[in-house]
Symmetry: C2
């Protein structure tokens, strides 16, 4: 191979590696997971991910340089969002690959989430078919702001930290399907375990809102009901 051809080839792979580098840090992956719910300011992200603001800003900057996120300014705040739906898919693929091929990752996920399979997750298509069924309550247990940015049509917003206090709102004879940020979010599995302990019939949605959205299923934006 000619020297300049090799140089060009190396340059191309170096460019490809920029995307890999963006995915090579746990803090950045967590930020991407949060941004998959909708746009957020730097301060909100720093708070939720337990990071310093200056560090959050630096990591977001790195993500932007790799083309994974974009930002807009609104007054004094800067809101970041995923650059495209593909980013959700890419991040999801990395997570799923790790969880399926690395024993340590599977173990870490289980240690954080518990045994989600034991809760018999409901598939997307199954839930979609039953959306208009009065016997099913769909529960969005993410923070209010994420619900407002987009949720499954007809879903009830009960943020995970309010669930225990709002059980009275849920009818006794209904089947509850709880969903949250994604397959590696703890809110829905925890909610289902709490509901079952109180005698409700509850199951988590397999995957969360980003997967639902990627599958092309309907999403409603708007304030809480």
């Amino acid at each position: 191979m000619r020297a300049d051809e090799r140089a060009r080839k190396t340059a191309m792979f170096e460019q490809f590696a920029l995307v890999g580098k963006a995915l090579a840090n746990p803090a950045r992956l967590e930020l991407l997971d949060l941004l998959a719910q909708g746009e957020r300011s730097v301060e909100e992200l720093a708070g939720t991910a337990a990071m310093k603001v200056s560090n959050t800003s630096a990591q977001l900057r790195a993500l932007a340089a790799a083309g994974l996120v974009t930002s807009r300014r609104d007054g004094v705040r800067i809101y970041y969002r995923l650059a495209s739906a593909e980013v959700s898919a890419l991040v999801g693929q990395v997570q799923d690959f790790a969880a399926s091929r690395l024993a340590a990752a599977a173990q870490a996920a289980r240690s954080y989430l518990g045994d989600v399979e034991a809760l018999e997750p409901v598939g997307r298509d199954e839930l979609f078919k039953r959306l208009n069924d009065d016997q099913v309550v769909v529960l969005d247990v993410r923070p209010q702001a994420e619900y407002a940015a987009g949720h499954i049509p007809g879903a009830l917003s009960v943020p995970h930290d309010q669930l225990a206090a709002r059980l009275a709102e849920l009818g006794e004879g209904t089947d509850i399907v709880a969903y949250c940020r994604g397959p590696y979010c703890v809110f829905a599995p925890d909610a289902v375990r709490l509901l079952r302990a109180r005698g409700f019939s509850a199951r988590p949605l397999r995957g969360g809102l980003p997967d639902w959205r990627l599958a092309g299923l309907p999403v409603t934006a708007g304030p809480s009901t």
Copy 2:
């Protein structure tokens, strides 16, 4: 969030990031691109990727730790291969994302490959339909060993560095479709440009053998015809 819950969450994202880290280096991405053609020994990989053997070994080791490749020993040689077909898909997604969202990556790819779109690539399905058409010659311009490890049924093996000397084997009135390692491999575009300069009617296949395989289309293993 409780401290131990945060620790578990961080541990999970650290595990996910191991896969990202594996994709964060140009040398490793190039190795994965080569391994998508079939298994290879360390020495072969080092030679093709213009790397030292010790470095190649270290990078393969890193890929194995992230679950992307596995190896088997055959006598004095150790052959590495992709751990699963998903790895091809994952790497392809990273490459395509970079090429579509990063201007510098698109530019680097174009600088290495030339303007592939100008060569009017043939789609997989279109080629599949015409496989039994006598008027179409499918040309595999990868190295012989990669052809032997798997190729499109009926394809003719003419490694890129032998093409100029073997033009006589190609009938004049036929349409030629050349394919190689993938969308970022230079062999097929170069072959098409050479063939056109010599008066042949030639087009590249869009994507290469790994994409063809991922799409579930048939692949034949065996020696050169």
